[in-house]
């Protein structure tokens, strides 16, 4: 198909005939981004005259977002001429057919975009209190404050947005740390075996025998919590399960012929491990990481709820739920929206994780996921998130 100026003015519009849903979504995303630029032009101009890092990040995200939309809409039209397919691209096509997972992916994309664009999206500064405290506090949702205001007269929407970026950042970074650490430790243990394996896996057993939350509370009580500390601590306490998983996979992979063949070609141990063994464990690692993000966000919220998380006045979902619980009857919106945000985020990551598991697990290849089974799994993830959040609200 030829390129027309329309592709750059309104990408997606020409795909409407063949892919109505994707085309529509593309258009909506495109228009939203442009609307943001137009509505927030004042803020964007400010960015150029000495904006903070997160404003530059937000501006960069807009540009990248627009670029991705154009790319995706072009790809949609020039649907692949059959070329060599990697297992990964086969898995992607399976993943695309997994509706709950695609829904999760969509929600996470929106959340991630919202987190990146927060400085432009948030209508108010999250820590600014109303001028007249009595008049501005506990305002129910209105046009000026779509999610109402809290007991200090702060805008809940802004706080949910800013809290979201904290939660997402902590969740992804902590999982990144945990998964990297767990993969390396597990892979080395499984590949070297012998005393390395024994020592590290007994260490894992030991660490796993502590309840994670208690461990976290202890550490946070010893060190002053900050976002960096919380991230690090969550990362350093979350790698054990991954390392066990990776070790198990590597134990069987190291006996596979292609590892033997790599040794016979004179490749060094680290090269074999990093380039030949670990990529073959990627699928379970990716699934574990995705599910781990949701879980970590939940734990971070629990910590904040207990007052041990991100220090005030920085907004965080857990802390908002905790603060709002005194006023739950009079002003339920203070706890409802951050609670809803937790549920939505955790559920989305769980849905993606389930979809990835189905797409990447070779045993389910071709057969596709059994529909009842899938619903059960997705439902369980969602229920867990809801339960945890409502538990947090309830207490």
């Amino acid at each position: 198909m030829t390129v027309s100026p329309l592709d750059f003015l309104l990408p997606g519009v020409r795909s409407l005939g063949r892919h109505p849903v994707q085309g529509l979504l593309t258009m909506v995303a495109w228009l939203t981004l442009w609307a943001l630029i137009v509505l927030r032009r004042g803020r964007i101009v400010e960015t150029f005259s000495g904006g903070a890092f997160d404003e530059w990040l937000a501006f960069g995200s807009i540009l990248v977002g627009l670029y991705i939309i154009v790319r995706l809409s072009r790809q949609m039209k020039t649907e692949s001429p059959r070329r060599s397919e990697s297992q990964r691209s086969l898995a992607w096509s399976r993943f695309r057919r997994h509706r709950p997972a695609m829904l999760g992916l969509g929600l996470v994309s929106v959340l991630a975009m919202a987190a990146l664009l927060t400085p432009y999206l948030a209508p108010y500064d999250p820590s600014i209190q109303g001028a007249d405290l009595v008049a501005t506090r506990f305002r129910p949702p209105s046009l000026a404050h779509p999610m109402g205001t809290d007991h200090f007269g702060r805008d809940v929407l802004s706080r949910v947005l800013y809290g979201g970026r904290t939660s997402l950042a902590i969740g992804t970074l902590a999982v990144l740390i945990a998964v990297t650490l767990g993969t390396l430790i597990g892979a080395v243990a499984g590949y070297r075996r012998g005393w390395v394996d024994t020592v590290s896996m007994r260490g894992v057993d030991l660490l796993l025998s502590f309840p994670r939350l208690v461990l976290l509370i202890t550490v946070v009580a010893l060190v002053d919590p900050s976002i960096a500390v919380i991230t690090l601590v969550l990362g350093l306490t979350g790698w054990m399960a991954t390392s066990r998983l990776v070790r198990g996979e590597v134990l069987s992979l190291r006996e596979r012929e292609f590892v033997q063949a790599a040794r016979a070609l004179g490749f060094s141990g680290p090269r074999i491990l990093l380039r030949h063994v670990i990529p073959n464990v990627a699928s379970p690692i990716i699934v574990a990481a995705t599910l781990g993000i949701g879980n970590t966000i939940l734990i971070e919220a629990s910590l904040s709820f207990l007052g041990l998380g991100v220090p005030a006045p920085a907004p965080s979902w857990g802390e908002m739920v905790a603060r709002g619980r005194d006023a739950m009857i009079e002003a339920p919106w203070i706890t409802l929206f951050p609670g809803l945000a937790i549920v939505l985020t955790v559920m989305s990551f769980n849905l993606i994780g389930d979809g990835l598991r189905d797409a990447l697990d070779p045993r389910s290849a071709g057969r596709g996921p059994a529909p009842t089974d899938r619903r059960a799994v997705g439902g369980a993830g969602a229920t867990r998130a809801v339960g945890a959040a409502s538990g947090a609200i309830g207490s």
């Binding site: 070329r83 060599s84 297992q87 012929e257 033997q260 063949a261 016979a264 070609l265 990529p279 073959n280």
Partner: protein, 348 residues
């Protein structure tokens, strides 16, 4: 099995290789028990034997690819490659030799390629990791190699993932990887076993033509006598961790001296039915932790007498009118004992 001295040192000389597996509370399994052979440049040696006779272990021992522990190589064993001792060599030195000087082709083409990388990248990786060529040059050479191993569309094979190739194509790719750095020795451990017969022939032809091109020495391990007889210059027959007979391919297959070889050959059906009914070697290969006393083959040997049960014969080699041959059998001393019907025949 010392080849007749030709004034040149052999490329590979394996002397008294002993590998055993020891585990607590159990008898050590002496899987390879005193194997010796030499391989000259450009020569093809076929190593034949039933499953479990130690031939793969012997092959893996040469580039020291056997995990130690659990395996243990006797300190008296010697593997001289171009005059360099490999038993006890440093890991670093062995890594330099593997791939570059000693190529290895494995039995299972279906699983010997890494499923997550493109075939071209894997062949190229064998080249650029040595640091002698850039990645880009490696790709060019890899393409030439895939062309050399007779891919019909080497460009497409470069981009393909292993699961998109057939078994024969994968084995070609693996051979390309093994010979990428132009090794002087190629060890092929049952390279055709997993392939069907027509593809087998193509792979054997490919190995032979590579050998003719580059003058590499080939150590071909197989349980398939037909495969070995097609390409090998010399043959060594292994049984129970030992070499029981050596000789030229013609010699060993034409007039076997060891009863085991005789039994193996008589168990192979011929297409015209010549040679009468098939024979069967009774019993099975003994376990490596319980080799029989005396000659390890005596419980299955149709000619065995009391001496075979108590004394173990040596592999005695020497020049005969038909070449350099040897057998590990007391019949060498007392040929008159080779009498009677030999192996029982099975109705066919």
């Amino acid at each position: 099995m010392n080849a007749p001295a030709r004034g040149v040192a052999p490329l590979l000389e394996v002397r008294d290789l002993r590998v055993r597996f020891e585990s607590a509370g159990e008898t050590a399994a002496r899987a390879v028990e005193g194997v010796s052979f030499t391989l000259a440049r450009g020569e093809t040696l076929g190593l034949v034997g039933e499953s479990g006779c130690g031939k793969s272990l012997t092959a893996l021992s040469i580039p020291r690819l056997v995990d130690e522990p659990p395996a243990q190589t006797s300190a008296d064993s010697s593997i001289l490659f171009r005059g360099e001792e490999l038993v006890g060599a440093s890991q670093q030195r062995l890594r330099q030799l593997r791939g570059a000087e000693i190529g290895f082709v494995f039995q299972e083409p279906m699983t010997s390629l890494n499923p997550v990388h493109r075939v071209g990248d894997q062949v190229a990786e064998a080249l650029w990791t040595r640091g002698e060529v850039s990645r880009k040059q490696a790709k060019t050479i890899a393409l030439e190699l895939l062309d050399r191993v007779e891919f019909r569309d080497p460009r497409r094979a470069m981009r393909a993932y292993p699961h998109e190739l057939s078994g024969g194509m994968r084995q070609r790719a693996l051979i390309a990887m093994a010979v990428a750095c132009e090794p002087s020795l190629l060890i092929a451990d049952e390279p055709t076993t997993a392939l069907d017969v027509t593809v087998q022939a193509q792979i054997l032809e490919l190995l032979a033509s590579l050998q003719a091109d580059t003058g590499l020495a080939l150590l071909l391990i197989s349980h398939d006598l037909a495969v070995v007889s097609q390409v090998a210059d010399r043959v060594a027959v292994m049984y129970a961790g030992r070499i029981v007979e050596t000789g030229t391919a013609r010699q060993v297959f034409g007039s076997p001296r060891h009863p085991y070889t005789e039994g193996l050959l008589r168990a192979v059906p011929t297409i015209d039915g010549a040679g009468g009914s098939l024979a069967m070697i009774p019993g099975r290969v003994p376990r490596p932790d319980a080799w029989p006393s005396g000659c390890t083959f005596h419980p299955r040997c149709p000619y065995a007498w009391d001496r075979c049960e108590t004394d173990e014969p040596d592999l005695r080699e020497g020049a005969t009118s038909s070449g350099w041959v040897g057998a590990r059998c007391w019949l060498e001393d007392e040929p008159a004992k080779r009498s009677g019907t030999g192996y029982a025949e099975v109705d066919s």
